[in-house]
Subunit: 285 residues, 2 copies
């Protein structure tokens, strides 16, 4: 069985960078080191970091001293101020693309726009952007929600970096008849789309697809859905241990991809295990 990996798979730029910043901080900083929330939505990475002595705090209240790392999603600036007020050292690993969305939201609010953040209101990235955009800003998860928005002469729109472009398009479509001006910053990051694109491309060449990633990783689950819609049998695993030989019975070409929060070492383990399964079944025949 041939195993092919998608061109764009696994860690995006911002997640890789946040992990590097964290590992560097572990080497350089004395005292306790925390990430505020899991650094990456992947249980194996969280475990690995724990093994290195990087602790996980769900809120600042749990941290009394040391260093706190802001993950790639970013946070409300009030959180950074609070951490500093508590005497903590803050290392900001906010992805530069998320930072751009935060700054643009802030700028739009300053210029008097009614800021609209297209995204999932429960996502930490969106909460962070909202913090930058000030109290008037609103979150919109779909075009339908536009009807409930406050009237405004001018809307300023940014998007959660991992939103699908069609959601931004639909929201803007719904905003246009309501205002004299709609100023849209397309802050969507290409990482998610390029992972989907290259997965779908690969899916056309193989008989079965495996997606590696945390079960709670939204972008991994989305990747799985898109592949399933394309018609190719698709399996979602967190680790190599979950692979089942029967998925590959009679398969001569299998594809492999991974969500943006999946570390290379797990992808490699899965790939290795897939090759082993392939060899076993070849030997049996």
């Amino acid at each position: 069985m041939e195993v092919k990996r998608a061109r764009n798979a696994g860690f995006c730029f911002g997640v890789r960078r946040a992990l590097e910043i964290t590992l560097k901080a572990r080497e350089e900083k004395e005292g306790p080191l925390y990430t505020l929330g899991p650094l990456i939505h992947n249980p194996q990475v969280v475990e690995f970091l724990a093994s290195k002595g990087v602790k996980l705090a769900e809120s600042l209240e749990e941290i009394t001293e040391g260093t706190v790392i802001i993950r790639s999603h970013g946070v409300d600036p009030a959180v950074i101020r609070e951490a500093e007020a508590r005497g903590l050292t803050v290392i900001d690993a906010t992805c530069p693309y998320v930072r751009r969305a935060q700054e643009l939201a802030c700028e739009l609010a300053k210029q008097g726009y009614q800021v609209v953040v297209v995204g999932d209101r429960d996502h930490p990235e969106v909460k962070g952007i909202l913090g930058w955009a000030g109290p008037q800003a609103v979150v919109v998860g779909s075009a339908e929600e536009v009807a409930g928005l406050p009237e405004a002469p001018a809307y300023g729109v940014v998007a959660q970096t991992t939103q699908p472009i069609n959601r931004l398009q639909e929201v803007v479509h719904a905003l246009l008849p309501r205002a004299k001006e709609v100023r849209v910053y397309n802050t969507i990051c290409s990482a998610v789309a390029s992972r989907i694109e290259s997965a779908l491309e690969l899916a056309r060449e193989v008989e079965v697809m495996v997606v590696v990633g945390g079960r709670s990783s939204a972008n991994t689950r989305h990747l799985v859905e898109r592949l399933q819609l394309s018609g190719v049998p698709t399996y979602h695993v967190e680790t190599a241990a979950e692979l089942r030989p029967e998925w590959f019975m009679g398969v001569s070409r299998a594809g492999l991809t991974a969500g943006a929060s999946t570390p290379d070492w797990i992808i490699e383990e899965v790939e290795k295990r897939m090759r082993e399964i392939g060899e076993m079944s070849a030997a049996e025949q």
Copy 2:
């Protein structure tokens, strides 16, 4: 037969204003008075103006002295400069809503946006806006044309005032994946939509609709099409003389509306003639 007129019918604000400015100019200005192009897309209005001594020039070359009126559509600022250079008095009757589109296009270009004008490239209003937006600006008539646009980090969009909102929406939809920023000024005037809305509203209460307006008036023709699509029998006339009694045979309620370039006096003549036809056929029965 009952005859009902649509709530919003006939002259829009900008056209009424241009006509008033012209008639006032005819009273106040000595010497020859021209409109540059027909003031209003309605042959009866053009005739009426001619009878008052307002001449029609298709280009500045035809005018050697006197006063020239810029109609509600507006013009390229180069045209005004040229008229002044020829020693003519210029009276600018550009509709304030069109002026707003011109100024916003100019402002966007100054700020470095790739200006996109959504509209019909052959329409005089669009040619005027382009003149304000400078040589880099482009016209887009449909979402399909977006694919051929120059790449740009930021698009600045304005629309011809009489475009349907869905065309603006579709173009913006197509622009969003191509740029980091899309700044849209919705310069669409409500006059056209409100005429369509109130015509469709009225159409639900009547058995036949009559639309009054010049055959070359785009907004009048569009009104006719929308009414025909709604399923009600619809007739387009330029004057009362074109009304045919057989259209109203057995009809107890007829509706009447008019394009934005149709003067009140023609609508009134048509309404009067419809009532006469109604009375005649009632007498016959």
